[in-house]
Symmetry: C2
Subunit: 144 residues, 2 copies
DNA sequence: ATTGAAATTGATAAACTGTCTCAAAATTAT
DNA sequence: ATAATTTTGAGACAGTTTATCAATTTCAAT
């Protein structure tokens, strides 16, 4: 549908325009697939897209997902040895609860923690630009 | 001096004893160098130790630092794409403030944040096993 | 619609970090 | 000292991501 993901497509176009970058078939294709995901690795996107477009190169996936990060549509998160691209196009900042049993990822946001982080930083003379908070454990189902 | 790092050396010996592992020249050497650090990568230890012992293999450094983790003397921390081994022999749990300007790392510990983390986890049915909290920003000196 | 400069792509090489392999050496219990 | 077991060092190997570069595509200006 031409009515889906218009907002994100426009955000990408705006970023492209500002940086003398071009809109390509691949970029449209990867964006549309990416927006259907919550968190995904480049490798996983590669295999998923290979079904419909077997000649899409892995390097292009990486380049494009990194472009999405620059455009503010994605955020790279280093979970273990892999980088997952977090689809942040329709949501604000958040942190993660990760089940080490089933790999489930739950997003959360806690204002009080954010406030305390600022407090800690200030106490040490730091100005926070970003942060990363990940809680690892077992979800209800995996605790059996 | 034979009087330095005796406690940690004993902790290592105890771990070795319990797991049918042997005390080697390399393990003593790497331990003594490691205990002088706060946070260090395997690669950095490799180069540092190469000055006095050019034939120490990188694999041995990795193996030994991982051994220290098992023995509770070190903790592996994945900062970006590199693993830093945190010398936790003389300190308990803590999190990190990291200056993106000069790479300075400040350790902190905030009970209130820890408590709120538990609260968030409980609310989502999770049981936390570990967590990671890193605040990235600029220290006083780099904010100029 | 054509042209042409500039950006992009895909295939693959390379970089980078960390682990594995295995013969030789070191350790430890006997 | 002997012998079983563990460890070491060198380099091969593996997993993930980036760099290279010739061919292709985009897009703004004719
Ligand atoms: Mn997320
Ligand atoms: Mn630390
Ligand atoms: Zn689970
Ligand atoms: Zn600094």
């Amino acid at each position: 549908m031409a009515t889906k993901h218009v907002k994100e497509m426009d955000a990408l176009k705006e970023h492209l325009g500002k940086h003398q970058l071009k809109l390509t078939r691949q970029r449209e294709l990867i964006l549309s697939a990416f927006l259907r995901q919550e968190h995904i690795t480049a490798e996983a996107m590669y295999h998923q897209l290979a079904k419909s477009d077997p000649h899409l190169g892995l390097a292009t996936i990486y380049r494009t997902l990194n472009l999405f990060c620059d455009a503010g549509l994605a955020q790279a998160r280093h979970f273990g040895s892999q980088t997952k691209y977090d689809n942040v196009s329709h949501k604000g900042h958040h942190d993660h609860l990760i089940c080490t049993g089933c790999e489930k990822i739950v997003e959360f946001e806690n204002e009080e923690i954010e406030r305390l982080q600022e407090e800690v930083a200030t106490r040490h003379g730091f100005t926070i630009k970003t942060h990363r908070l990940e809680l690892y454990g077992l979800c209800t189902r995996c605790r059996d």
